[in-house]
């Protein structure tokens, strides 16, 4: 039995055997086979060899019975819980900050009178009324160390402890840019 010189086509014979060729390639291989006695012989040989391959009987139930039990979902460590708790606190603190600052920021041509000039400048500069709090609460908590998380928690507690500057029931003194009130 001789070998076909077309190595590329010969390479594809096992794929033809297992029906792993796309339509176009399959058509090309089959066209080659019609004119190539060597490849027809090799394909027949491969088919025979596959047919005589040993096929031992197996005890599937026995194999399944021997399998280990699925692993329980990974447990959270104490550290994981601390980080999660810190994220919740920070998110709550961040939300209240955003609500607070957004609510007191002047919009368009309407200027809202504030209770204290110092507060306005603190908002514009991104600092709290106490003048010493600067937080980046956007993202990346998981990358912080325990010490950094504790420091952030301390900062958030300070923010929550700050007196509210919202006027609540009192009507703000609103001055329109055209001079109306």
């Amino acid at each position: 039995m001789t070998d076909c010189p077309n190595a590329e086509l010969r390479d594809l014979l096992p794929d033809l055997l297992h029906d792993r060729l796309d339509g176009a390639t399959r058509t090309r291989v089959e066209a080659h086979l019609r004119g190539c006695e060597e490849c027809r012989g090799e394909l027949a040989l491969l088919r025979s060899l596959r047919a005589v391959a040993p096929t031992p009987r197996l005890d599937v139930a026995g194999i399944v019975a021997a399998l280990p039990a699925p692993r329980a979902p990974r447990r959270w460590t104490a550290n994981s819980w601390r980080i999660a708790a810190a994220i919740v606190v920070l998110a709550a603190g961040g939300s209240s900050l955003v609500a607070h600052f957004a609510g007191s920021r002047p919009t368009d041509s309407v200027r809202v009178a504030t209770l204290s000039p110092a507060h306005d400048s603190a908002v514009d500069s991104g600092r709290g009324a106490s003048g010493d709090v600067e937080l980046n609460v956007g993202y990346g908590y998981s990358e912080l160390t325990d010490a950094q998380l504790l420091a952030l928690l301390k900062d958030v507690q300070q923010i929550n402890a700050m007196p509210s500057t919202e006027t609540d029931a009192t009507v703000p003194n609103v001055t329109l840019s055209n001079g109306g009130a």
Partner: protein, 184 residues
């Protein structure tokens, strides 16, 4: 008939893995039914004579024990072949250490194949099996994966730890050797 159809469960491997991890024991049965026959053929083709069942079982036990580390970069079947091959090599090494093992003679391999199949071999069948048994271990495993299981050269390279080019060369050398054996 596809292996999925043969196992009676058409769900993809990854879905079955997730189901098993969630406690569905039938998913494990489906996975074993789907892949065990190919593993057994491969193990037997590589010359394991007596303990195919045990190697296949060990392969599944190892695989299921570390399914959470399985990456879908390769197919589950390719991964299982890789594990089975490692187990086979371990066994061969252990046996070699225990007694100075000699190469399996062709006659032994043919006799073993008959025992595994439970089929009385005719002359042609014996000749074909003897031709494969006469290959080098590397040629035999590459040939088995390519012809019996239909793996690509890339998949074969992953299983046996070589390059696609080397896998291709081993395959063609194997075919050439088989033809030579049968022509003699």
């Amino acid at each position: 008939m596809t292996d999925s159809a043969r196992s009676g469960d058409e769900r993809p491997d990854l879905e079955l893995i997730a189901a098993w991890q969630a406690g569905d024991q039938r998913a494990a049965t489906s996975l074993v039914e789907r892949h065990a026959p190919a593993l057994a053929r491969f193990v037997a083709s590589c010359g394991e004579r007596r303990e195919v069942d045990e190697v296949v079982q060990d392969t599944f036990v190892r695989a299921f024990g570390s399914l959470d580390t399985f990456r879908a970069d390769s197919s589950l079947r390719t991964w299982l072949f890789t594990i089975a091959r490692r187990l086979l090599l371990d066994r061969i090494r252990a046996e070699r250490r225990r007694r100075d093992r000699v190469e399996i003679e062709e006659g032994d391999a043919v006799t073993e194949f008959d025992a595994l199949d439970g089929v009385v071999a005719d002359e042609t069948r014996q000749q074909l099996r003897a031709a494969v048994a006469g290959l080098s271990p590397r040629q035999r495993e590459v040939f088995a994966l390519r012809v019996n299981e239909g793996l690509s050269y890339k998949e074969i390279a992953d299983v046996v730890g070589t390059t696609e080019g080397a896998a291709r060369v081993h395959y063609h050398n194997a075919v050439h050797a088989i033809k030579e054996f049968l022509n003699d």
